[in-house]
């Protein structure tokens, strides 16, 4: 691994650092009790890294995932995504960042059941404001990338679990995001299908895609080149693996 910039408040991340969190905290006010889900997480992820975030439940990995995915804003600390400080952006600006910079892959796929694969993949492009013709072309291209060119007009319930997750991956990729953010992407899949999905991730990573994946499964995390482990809201270990 190359050297990591020592980041101080007021600095700007290096250009190839796509994700940078600095002393990120997130607290939830649960009435009488203050839950400190993150207690100062500083992580840097470079372009084209493949990182797995691990940790037991309650370690704060979901909270970190939400912050990195711009679904939530931190209590304190900084979050830089692709050279832009997003930790203090307003709601609609975050929506735009999610649309342009982040491709989500969820454990439960989250496809629209009544829409076919093509329309599901088109969805982010609608919010990006593309014309219908452009949308269809790009969505078809993304489905081809995940090997589903022949399933475009299938509804989710006409697809297998693995195929559904590949539709979801195509949807995540269609806007050419800076990061692919996967939350337990194989949690609802059997081991054979999980392998297929991991192969898709590996291929995307090989093509240059930055991938961040949250998982609690050791053998899934093993596909990543680097594993960050959280415990009690702080980074416990951060180690690169031999490829």
């Amino acid at each position: 691994m190359s050297t990591v910039q020592l980041f101080r408040t007021g600095d700007t991340p290096l250009p190839d650092v796509i994700i940078l969190t600095h002393k990120l905290t997130r607290e939830y006010d649960m009435g009488s009790e203050l839950v400190r889900a993150l207690r100062g997480v500083s992580v840097q992820i470079r372009r084209n890294e493949y990182v797995a975030v691990m940790g037991p439940s309650g370690s704060g990995k979901s909270t970190l995932m939400n912050l990195v995915g711009c679904l939530d804003t931190p209590t304190s600390g900084e979050y830089w995504l692709n050279g832009q400080k997003v930790s203090d952006l307003a709601d609609d600006e975050l929506a735009r960042i999610r649309n342009k910079e982040i491709g989500f892959v969820f454990q439960t796929f989250n496809l629209l059941p009544r829409a076919d694969a093509l329309h599901n993949v088109e969805l982010p492009l609608i919010y990006a404001g593309l014309s219908a013709r452009n949308r269809r072309a790009k969505a078809a291209q993304a489905l081809e990338r995940v090997g589903l060119a022949d399933r475009m007009d299938h509804k989710p319930n006409e697809l297998s679990g693995g195929q559904r997750q590949r539709v979801a991956i195509a949807r995540a990729l269609v806007n050419e995001p800076s990061i692919l953010l996967a939350d337990e992407p194989t949690g609802n899949l059997d081991s054979t299908t999980s392998g297929e999905i991991m192969a898709v991730f590996a291929e995307l990573h090989h093509q240059g895609q930055t991938v961040v994946m949250v998982t609690h499964e050791q053998d899934i995390a093993a596909h990543a080149a680097r594993v960050v482990t959280l415990r009690d809201g702080i980074v416990a270990t951060d180690q690169a693996r031999a490829a």
Partner: protein, 406 residues
């Protein structure tokens, strides 16, 4: 919008319920409006014309159609001098506009034939042009002639209902009926005219103005009305002003004095009806509003349910970059689509209702284009209004919580 219609298709039952509210609202709007509209046209085009005749005015002591007149006014009318034969003759002689005229005196009488009797029959003692002015067509026989009128011949033309009552299906021609104890020879029967807003139009007889029955109705030399029909509306106006001048000078009225007679046209009836229809036009929207509000509440409920059910979808859309206003407009479009489709069905139903009213009831009805336009606008409006609250709830959803929702 396409998305909104897809949802509508997918949730047929629920959408159906919310459609119903708007549907009923709009259908009742159009139905009720059509009735008012139809009756309106009926009143102005037919009712008034039947009562008065086209381009016709009547010289009378007081107006024929007198709704809601205070006693004092009524008493003043009663004190006025009556219309005399000589007044009618003076006007006939003085008018320079081509007109046809008729005398008329009316009363309620019984008409009998052998043992049969027809009660509450309008007796019209009139001159021979009465048939032309009132546009009464003779079905069988003939009207009386001017000679018969002048000589006061005891001949009678029966209204259809009177002929049917007294003679069933035998021919009444040449038979003698008794009016006020005087025998009258039947010379004709008028074509059936049916009824107007439930009032029968065929319960009348017409006898010559100078025939013996005149004495039953009015003192000698006195008329109830002098009917004057012109060829056109402007000519009628001209004739009216001439007649007014003639009457004022005959009655020696000074310029400051009011007329102590009326020149009555169908305008009075029409004004009266306009008053009623104004009230209806004010009251109706209230009724319609209630059903639209109910429809709106139903839609709002459906949309709230939809928001609750589709929380995950909303969360997903937000995570994919939907801004608040994207979510807001999606749900607004859905509720508006529901309401507009409901309104469209409502319009179709309203039109069908109008056709049904027309064919099945005596009420005339005709669809007003404005009511269709209003129906669409109101339908869409209800959709927007009812959709705002659920849609803003959807738009405010936190994507994390929304995504986690089962």
């Amino acid at each position: 919008m396409r998305l909104a219609l897809q949802t509508l298709r997918a949730q047929k039952l629920k959408s159906g319920f919310s459609l119903l509210g708007v549907f009923i609202g709009v259908a009742s709007l159009i139905g009720a409006w059509s009735i008012v509209n139809g009756v309106n046209r009926y009143m102005t085009e037919k009712f008034a014309q039947t009562l008065y005749g086209v381009n016709t005015f009547q010289l009378r002591r007081r107006p024929m159609f007198t709704p809601n007149v205070p006693d004092s006014v009524w008493r003043a009318w009663q004190r006025r001098p009556r219309i005399r034969f000589s007044d009618a003759e003076a006007i006939s002689a003085g008018l320079t506009v081509p007109v046809i005229t008729a005398w008329q005196s009316s009363d309620r009488v019984s008409v009998s034939y052998s043992s049969k009797e027809a009660r509450d029959i309008d007796l019209n003692a009139a001159s021979e042009r009465y048939f032309d002015i009132k546009n009464l067509k003779i079905a069988i026989g003939r009207p009386f002639t001017s000679e018969e009128n002048r000589s006061g011949a005891p001949v009678v033309v029966l209204g259809d209902a009177v002929a049917k009552r007294l003679f069933v299906d035998r021919s009444p021609l040449g038979r003698n009926v008794r009016i006020g104890g005087v025998p009258y020879r039947v010379i004709g029967v008028v074509e059936r005219q049916g009824s107007i807003l439930g009032f029968p139009l065929d319960r009348f007889v017409v006898v010559p103005a100078l025939s013996p029955a005149q004495n039953l109705v009015n003192p000698p030399g006195i008329l109830d009305a002098f009917l004057i029909k012109a060829h056109s509306d402007p000519e009628m106006r001209e004739a009216m002003s001439q007649a007014e001048g003639i009457m004022r000078s005959r009655r020696h009225l000074r310029p400051k004095q009011d007329n102590n007679f009326v020149l009555d046209t169908s305008e009075g009836v029409q004004q009266f009806w306009a008053g009623i229809s104004r009230i209806l036009v004010i009251v109706l929207p209230g009724v319609v509003l209630v059903s639209l509000v109910i429809g709106g509440i139903v839609i709002m409920n459906i949309m709230l349910m939809a928001v609750a059910e589709r929380t995950r979808e909303i969360g997903l859309r937000k995570s994919l970059g939907a801004r608040r206003r994207d979510v807001l407009s999606q749900f607004l479009a859905e509720s508006t689509a529901i309401a507009t489709v409901g309104a469209s069905f409502g319009i179709i139903a309203g039109i069908l209702l109008t056709i049904a009213i027309n064919t099945l009831s005596p009420l005339p009805a005709s669809v007003s284009p404005a009511s269709i336009f209003l129906g669409v606008v109101m339908g869409a409006g209800v959709g927007v209004v009812a959709g705002v609250y659920p849609a803003s709830r959807a738009a405010r959803l936190d994507p994390i919580t929304a995504l986690r929702q089962e």
